[in-house]
């Protein structure tokens, strides 16, 4: 409950104060956000499964973000940044869909 509130508060704060994104991080922010969303949906699912663990969530959140950014960074260095970030987004999107499906089964029993 608190994390969800924190998420909402964060969105409001971001909308109100419009923080500027550091130029170096700009290309990685969208991917990082998607990766973090994946971690959040995974966390919600784990919570509904009754196996939520804060440490696992923190570790998976941070590692998801870092790995996603690293892949994109590497792709940029290799000259396939566009394709790799598309690939990362696709993989994360598939995972998010899977997690959301599980959440849906939990909530609606369907």
């Amino acid at each position: 409950m608190i994390p969800a509130l924190a998420l909402i508060v964060g969105v409001v704060v971001g909308l109100v104060f419009e923080p500027s994104v550091p130029t170096g991080l700009e290309p990685y922010l969208p991917i990082a956000v998607v990766a973090a969303l994946d971690a959040v949906f995974g966390g919600v699912r784990a919570r509904l499964d009754g196996i939520f663990d804060d440490k696992v969530f923190v570790v998976s959140f941070v590692s998801n973000v870092l790995v996603a950014a690293l892949i994109v960074y590497l792709g940029d260095k290799l000259g396939v940044g566009g394709q790799l970030s598309t690939g990362v987004v696709v993989v994360l999107g598939v995972r998010i869909f899977g997690n959301v499906a599980a959440i849906r089964r939990h909530i609606f029993r369907a």
Binding site: I2, A6, V9, V11, G14, L29, R45, A46, D53, N99
Partner: protein, 309 residues
């Protein structure tokens, strides 16, 4: 924000704490068993799978490790868990902020600010080629405009040419008024009227001396423009019929041309002046400036003649 956090945390802890401590052995396999039948999407579910896997050793280790000194373990464990919760909350807040920032950035400066280098290069290339296309188009349109305006200028010169030519022809044909330096001849008859032959001689003489436009007026009758086709006729009442106009003396002949040449032409021995004096009349010549020929003829439309191309 800081005040409610510990309370709520306590609440969540109260909810979550029962999970590990009372029945670690039953709880740990419990999520696993529903997870495996439910795993119709196993590759996508790396997350909870991982959690499940990591949970088992953690729970399994804890009772063994906590065996010797559970009293020492518990507070440190609790503070660590509290820190983890705080981190979770902080991460969620961070995600919210970056989500909002990303949304803002995307709608503010479009896609360009976040685009990567190769995309920017491609966009730049496209813009370059588009610029070249547009430049070529501009050059083409300018060229066309130049052509059109020069054509317009050409047609304007042609039109001016035509107007000037039509004026010249109009003066020669007597269809438009004319003015310029020239002579005014007044034929004053003596005892007998001056014949048409004499007037015609004078006209021919003036024409020969370069008169360009002439008109003949009398005491009565409107003035007549004299052109190549003008006829002179004596009438029975000593009047003169000039181009179907009945004129009575004294006659005034206006001629536009070089005054000196015409004066000399009239004054040659046996010329017009002598002839008029012989006929008992008097010719008065002066040179008003300008001589204005106002009488005009309506142009005759040729019925039979057609221009040859």
């Amino acid at each position: 924000m800081t005040d409610p956090t510990p309370d709520d945390d306590a609440v969540t802890e109260a909810i979550t704490v029962p999970l590990p401590t009372p029945a670690p052995a039953t709880r740990a396999p419990a999520p696993r068993s529903p997870a495996s039948p439910e795993a119709d999407d196993p590759p996508a579910v790396g997350e909870p799978d991982a959690t499940g896997r990591e949970l088992v050793p953690a729970r399994a280790v804890r009772p063994e490790a906590g065996g010797p000194s559970p009293a020492h373990r518990r507070p440190r464990e609790a503070s660590r868990r509290l820190w983890m919760k705080v981190t979770v909350v902080a991460l969620c807040a961070l995600l919210g902020v970056s989500l909002a920032a990303q949304l803002r950035r995307n709608e503010k400066d479009g896609a360009l600010a976040g685009a990567r280098q190769e995309d920017l290069v491609r966009i730049l290339d496209e813009l370059d080629s588009r610029e070249q296309r547009l430049r070529a188009e501009i050059a083409e349109l300018q060229e066309r405009r130049r052509t059109l305006s020069s054509a317009a200028e050409g047609s304007q010169t042609v039109q001016e040419d035509l107007e000037r030519r039509s004026e010249e022809l109009g003066i020669l044909a007597g269809t438009i008024p004319a003015e310029g330096e020239g002579l005014r001849l007044v034929f004053r008859p003596g005892s007998s009227a001056l014949g048409a032959e004499l007037i015609l001689d004078a006209v021919e003489e003036l024409r020969g001396a370069g008169a360009e436009a002439m008109q003949m007026g009398g005491r009565t009758g409107s003035p007549v423009r004299i052109v190549a086709a003008t006829a002179f006729l004596d009438t029975e009442n000593d009047h003169l019929l000039v181009g179907n106009h009945d004129l009575s003396g004294p006659y005034t002949l206006l001629a536009i041309g070089d005054p000196e040449t015409m004066r000399a032409a009239l004054a040659i021995p046996g010329g017009v002046v002598d002839s008029v004096e012989d006929a008992g009349g008097k010719l008065q010549i002066d040179a008003p400036d300008p001589v204005t020929v106002t009488a005009t003829l309506s142009p005759a439309t040729p019925r039979y003649a057609e221009p040859v191309d």
